[in-house]
């Protein structure tokens, strides 16, 4: 069976009654099938205009789950989104960015999902809609493992909420792949740095991705950065010790040791870039 509901209300009903699989942009959905045909019930949510686009609310910037990466890149947003925009530009190719959605990247929950480190540094929350209503939880709680989330079968990720408290902070995202374009991350880092009028850091968020089942915030490093002057070579404050409990794996793309080394360099460069930009 195939359903293409045109309202979120209808979509959660159909999802509950059919137990179908959600199809959004399809850029994870179809490649995972290889050359097998689609089977089972599909709830195609690509027509749900109401959960697409970005809205500025008093306390949050609210991103519709179906917003594409191209739309994120093209929407004027405050500086704390520079990191998320940089991540969006790294997702696959232009054709992929034109189709792939924010919610799809989060629900697919790959350890190499490029948007996750940036959204974690923004303390973003997800909103999940189901027949019984909506609930909200931090992305940090939502993604629990390699391709594992707390999404219940009847839930649609309807929005992502980004608190505006630090919207003017500098932010960045850096990704290392085996080539320039169309590549899965070997390691990646996102950073958000807010500084006071005297140039001292008042808030710091740093996150490393592709080096553990779920991207990790480096809390110890963040604490260490607070109060430091935000100037060139800020990155030197980060050391191998600060990578703490990341647990990179050996795989076809890189060894664990290489990933650890690359992650540190990316963190240092990300901090330098934020210090220059803030």
């Amino acid at each position: 069976m195939y359903f293409r509901p045109d309202t979120l209300d209808h979509a959660v009903q159909v999802l509950a009654s059919s137990g179908g699989q959600i199809l959004a942009g399809g850029t994870d959905f179809f490649p995972s099938l290889g050359d097998r045909p689609v089977t089972g019930t599909v709830v195609d949510i690509s027509g749900l205009g109401e959960i697409r686009g970005v809205i500025t609310e008093p306390k949050y910037i609210k991103i519709g789950g179906l917003t594409t990466w191209t739309e994120i890149i093209q929407t004027p947003l405050p500086p704390c989104f520079d990191g998320l925009k940089a991540a969006a530009r790294e997702i696959g190719s232009i054709q992929i960015q034109n189709r792939a959605t924010v919610a799809g990247n989060l629900c697919n929950a790959s350890p190499a999902a490029d948007s996750v480190p940036a959204l974690l540094t923004l303390d973003a929350e997800v909103e999940l809609a189901s027949q019984v209503g909506i609930r909200r939880l931090p992305i940090a709680d939502f993604i629990v493992g390699n391709r594992k989330t707390l999404r219940q079968p009847g839930e649609i990720l309807s929005h992502v909420f980004v608190p505006r408290a630090i919207e003017n902070a500098a932010s960045t995202f850096l990704k290392l792949g085996a080539r320039r374009y169309l590549v899965i991350s070997i390691a990646m880092a996102a950073a958000v740095i807010q500084r006071s009028s005297t140039g001292h850091i008042t808030d710091a968020r740093v996150c490393v991705g592709s080096c553990s089942a779920v991207a990790r915030r480096l809390r110890e490093l963040e604490l260490k950065l607070i109060g430091a002057p935000a100037r060139a070579e800020l990155g030197l404050l980060a050391t191998a010790h600060d990578l703490g409990d990341i647990s990179p794996i050996n795989d076809v793309r890189a060894t664990a040791a290489y990933r650890r080394d690359a992650a540190l360099t990316l963190v240092q460069r990300a901090l330098d870039a934020c210090a220059r930009g803030s």
Binding site: R4, G25, T27, Q95, R99
Partner: protein, 163 residues
Amino acid sequence: MKKELVGLRVNGRTHELAIEPSKLLLDALRQDLQLTGSKRGCDDSSCGACTVHVDGIPMLSCTMLAASCEGQEITTIEGVSEHGSLAAIQKAYGDWGGAQCGYCTPGFIMTVKHLLAENPKPTEEEIRGALSGNLCRCTGYNQMYQAIKAAVEAEQKGMAAAR
């Protein structure tokens, strides 16, 4: 899946197709509409040979259902010629040897058409970035970059001449 009627607008014409709703847009174009310009070059959405425009935006027709496109305007390589003759970029690909076997070419042309519509004077770096979602296994890319630059120049000369 049981067949259903799916309404598709392709290259300015409306079609009612009795197809399985699970049918990929690429397969509907090739099998049901005999528009075989768009190609399948991979099974993991990575080659770009199937690129078409959906409401003017390049997307991979192998990675979406035909049924997802109801109400949208699809343009394939068959729809890019201008008044029955080759578009400037198609002609430039021919003139500059931008195609050898040609399998990847329709996908590239769709990508380049969109690039030039958004950015009529792209830099080499912008061209490389824009084409990064399309793969070619035989021609190599330099001839294509040359073809694109030639098409850009031709366009500018044409515009200057028209002034």
